[in-house]
C-alpha cells in the first residue's frame, strides 16, 4: 500500500528577478513501512522536498496524493489536520518549546487533536518511555543533552501514531556516537511497522535505510534499494 504518491512535482522560488528551481519534475511513491534516505549535495532540494511531503509547503506544479487524497486541493485547516495526525516531523535543530518540559512538548500534538488531559498525559509518557527518557520526563530542553532533546522530538513525532515520520538531518547536530544511538532508535521504530523518510549527508547513516533517493539540482538523480543495508545492534 502506498502512502505517498507525487507526480511531476516542481517548486520554483522567485528571488528578485531570478527563479530558483528547488525541485524539478520529481515523481516518487513511498510505500508503507519503507525506510527511505534522501541524499544529495547542499541546495539540491532535499528540505524543500521534505516540506512538500510534510504538507508544510505546496508545490508550484504537479500532483501530490497522500493516502489517495489529493493534497493540492486541501484547505489550510485540512493540511493542519494531516500534519497533526498523519505526519511526524523530526528536525535537525530539534525545535522543542524551550519553556515547556519534555512531557508537555510531547503532549502538544495531542492537544491540537483534542485529546483529553488524562489520556494525553498517558500517551505522552508512554512515548517518552519508548524513546528511553522515562527519567527525564519533567526536564526542560535546556536541561537535556542534544541526543536526549532529539529523543523528545522523536517521541513528539511518534505520539500521534502518524502514517509517516519525516526526519530532516536528525543527526546533523549530534556527534557520531549520539547520532548512532538515534539511528538505533529509528531502526526500532521502523521495525515496529512505521514508515520513515530521512534526509542525511552521511553515506553511513543512509545505509540504515532500505532505499536511497539521491537528488541533484532538484532532480531525482537516482533511486535505489540498499543492498548492503546496515542493521545497527544494541550492545
Amino acid at each position: 500500500m502506498n502512502i505517498i504518491t507525487i507526480e511531476n512535482i516542481s517548486k520554483v522560488y522567485k528571488v528578485g528577478d531570478t527563479e530558483v528551481h528547488a525541485l524539478r519534475d520529481v515523481s516518487l511513491t513511498i510505500n508503507k513501512n519503507e525506510y527511505v534516505a534522501i541524499m544529495g549535495p547542499s541546495g539540491s532540494g532535499k528540505s524543500t522536498l521534505m516540506n512538500m511531503l510534510g504538507c508544510l509547503d505546496t508545490p508550484s506544479n504537479g500532483r501530490y496524493e497522500f493516502k489517495n487524497k489529493n493534497v493540492s486541493a486541501m484547505t489550510d485547516n485540512e493540511l493542519a489536520a494531516i500534519r497533526n495526525r498523519e505526519i511526524g516531523f523530526v528536525f535537525q535543530t530539534f525545535n522543542l518549546l524551550s519553556r515547556s518540559n519534555a512531557l508537555h512538548n510531547v503532549e502538544l500534538p495531542l492537544i491540537y487533536s483534542g485529546i483529553s488531559g488524562a489520556e494525553r498525559k498517558d500517551r505522552a509518557r508512554k512515548a517518552l518511555v519508548d524513546v528511553g527518557l522515562e527519567e527525564r520526563i519533567h526536564h526542560k530542553p535546556n536541561e537535556l543533552s542534544g541526543g536526549q532533546r532529539q529523543r523528545v522530538a522523536i517521541a513528539r513525532a511518534l505520539v500521534t501514531n502518524p502514517s509517516i515520520i519525516l526526519a530532516d538531518e536528525p543527526t546533523g547536530n549530534l556527534d557520531s556516537k549520539t547520532g548512532e544511538e538515534i539511528m538505533i532508535l529509528f531502526n526500532q521504530i521502523h521495525q515496529t511497522g512505521n514508515t520513515i523518510i530521512l534526509v542525511t549527508h552521511e553515506e553511513y547513516i543512509a545505509k540504515h535505510a532500505d532505499r536511497i533517493i539521491r537528488l541533484k539540482d532538484g532532480y531525482v538523480h537516482s533511486d535505489e534499494k540498499v543492498l548492503d543495508r546496515y542493521i545497527p545492534t544494541i550492545n
Binding site: L56, D57, R83, N95, L96, R99, L108, G114
Partner: protein
C-alpha cells in the same frame, strides 16, 4: 469540537501566563498604560458617585418647593461685581413682599452669620446662625426631637431663644439635656427652646444642615449685623411643587414693584431654587465626566499601542515556535487564539491591578465623599481591559496566524 477548543484555549492560556511571567519587567511596563487607564476610569466613576451621593442628600435639605430671593444669584451669568452693586434686600422689602405676594404658602426673611456656639467648656466654631421669623418654620420640614420653634411673639420681640440642630446638640449636650440650657452665640446668651431631629444629610462643601442654630432675626441685626451680609434672603415656599413656577413669576413681579424697577431695567435681585443648583451641578459633573472619559481613553489608547507593540515583538521572537506549532498541527485559528489570549491576559492582569489601585484610592476618597467601588465599575473595568486586549492583540495575532510554516521554521 467544543472540547477541542477548550484544550486549545487552556493551552493558549498556559502559554500566555508563561510568556508573561518569563518576561516580568517587560510585562509590567506593558501593563502600565492599562493599569493607569483602569485606575482612572474606576476612580473617576467612584468619585462621581460620591459627589452625587453627597449632593443629592445635601440638596434634599433645600426642598424642591422653596424659592430663595436673594441679592446674589447662586449661579448665573451676571458678573459678581454687578450683583455686589445691587441694593440690599431689607426687612421693609420683606414686609411688603409678605403682604403683596398671594401665592406663597409662607415666606420668611433669613439673615445669617457664622459664630462660635458655646455651652460651658464645650464649643463649636463657625456654626451657621440663622435669624428669621416664626414663619420660617412653615418654609421647612423641620421635626423636633425636643421642644419647639420660637413663636411670633418671641420673634417680634427679639427674645434670646434658640433652636439648635442635632449636630450642635450632640456636641454641646452629649447627655441630651439641651432644653432650657443656656448657650453663648458669639458671646451672646440664648436659651435653648428646641432641638431639631437629624436631617440625615451629608456634608456638602462645608455646609452641614444639622450644624445650625435658629434665632429670632432681630437678635442677629442687633448683635451680628456688621458681620453678616447686610442683606436678607427671603425664603418663599410654594403651596406645592407644581405651583413653584407660578409662585416664582409672582414673586418676581412683586419684587420688581417693591424695588421700583422701570420697565426696561433688569432685576436687581435673584430668585434661586434647588433646580438651578441641580442644572449647574449636572453641568459640572458632565464636564468632569467628559474630562474623565478623555483621560481614560487616552491612557487606554497609549496602553493599547504599547501592548500591540510588545505583541508584535513577541510574535517576532517566537516565529520559530509558531513554525513548530504549525508543523505539528496547529491551525491558523489556534495561533490566532494563542496570541489574542496573551494580549487579553496582559490587559486583564493590568485591569485587576488597576482595580486594586482604584479600590485603595476610593477608600481615600471615602473620607471626604462617602463612596465605594460598585459592581458595575468592576464589570466596566474587566470589560474595558478585555476589549483593549483583544483590539490591541488582533493585528499581531493575525500576523502570527498567517505566517508561512516553512518560512517560520527557517527564521533565525
Amino acid at each position: 469540537m467544543n472540547k477541542h477548543f477548550f484544550f486549545e484555549f487552556k493551552e493558549g492560556f498556559i502559554i500566555a501566563i508563561t510568556a508573561i511571567f518569563s518576561n516580568k519587567i517587560r510585562s509590567i511596563l506593558t501593563m502600565l498604560g492599562i493599569v493607569i487607564g483602569i485606575t482612572s476610569v474606576v476612580t473617576m466613576s467612584t468619585a462621581i458617585r460620591g459627589i452625587d451621593n453627597s449632593f443629592q442628600e445635601g440638596i434634599s435639605s433645600l426642598g424642591t418647593d422653596v424659592l430663595y430671593i436673594d441679592k446674589w444669584a447662586w449661579f448665573s451669568n451676571v458678573e459678581w461685581w454687578k450683583m455686589r452693586n445691587r441694593k440690599s434686600i431689607t426687612m421693609e422689602d420683606y414686609d411688603k413682599f409678605r403682604s403683596m405676594a398671594q401665592l406663597p404658602l409662607a415666606s420668611a426673611p433669613v439673615a445669617n452669620t457664622g459664630q462660635r456656639v458655646k455651652h460651658k467648656e464645650k464649643y463649636i466654631d463657625r456654626v451657621i446662625i440663622n435669624g428669621s421669623t416664626a414663619d420660617y418654620l412653615k418654609t421647612t420640614n423641620f421635626t423636633f426631637s425636643m421642644g419647639r420653634f420660637y413663636s411670633e411673639i418671641e420673634s417680634k420681640s427679639s427674645r434670646y431663644v434658640a433652636v439648635i440642630g442635632s449636630e450642635v446638640a450632640k456636641n454641646l449636650f452629649p447627655l441630651g439635656d439641651a432644653l432650657d440650657k443656656e448657650i453663648k452665640v458669639g458671646g451672646v446668651a440664648f436659651r435653648v427652646i428646641g432641638v431639631l431631629e437629624e436631617q440625615g444629610s451629608i456634608i456638602l462643601g462645608n455646609f452641614n444642615p444639622d450644624n445650625q442654630v435658629f434665632v429670632p432675626i432681630g437678635t442677629i441685626f442687633k448683635h451680628f449685623m456688621g458681620q453678616s451680609f447686610g442683606s436678607v434672603t427671603i425664603n418663599v415656599r410654594a403651596v406645592s411643587p407644581a405651583l413653584v413656577e407660578e409662585t416664582k413669576v409672582e414673586a418676581q413681579s412683586v419684587m420688581r414693584k417693591i424695588r421700583g424697577l422701570g420697565y426696561q431695567e433688569p432685576d436687581d435681585f435673584s430668585i434661586n431654587q434647588q433646580e438651578g443648583l441641580m442644572e449647574q451641578y449636572n453641568q459640572v459633573v458632565g464636564v468632569i465626566q467628559i474630562a474623565g472619559i478623555f483621560i481614560t481613553s487616552l491612557s487606554l489608547f497609549v496602553g493599547a499601542i504599547g501592548i500591540m507593540n510588545i505583541m508584535f515583538v513577541s510574535v517576532r521572537e517566537r516565529t520559530r515556535e509558531i513554525g513548530v506549532r504549525k508543523a505539528i498541527g496547529a491551525t491558523r485559528k489556534t495561533i490566532l487564539l494563542q496570541f489574542l489570549l496573551e494580549s487579553s491576559t496582559i490587559c486583564l492582569i493590568g485591569g485587576f491591578i488597576g482595580l486594586l489601585f482604584a479600590v485603595i484610592l476610593s477608600q481615600v476618597i471615602d473620607r471626604f465623599l462617602p463612596t465605594s467601588v460598585q459592581y458595575d465599575a468592576v464589570f466596566l473595568a474587566i470589560g474595558i481591559s478585555l476589549i483593549t486586549g483583544i483590539v490591541a492583540g488582533l493585528a499581531p495575532a493575525y500576523t502570527a496566524a498567517k505566517l508561512d510554516p516553512v518560512e517560520a521554521l527557517r527564521y533565525e
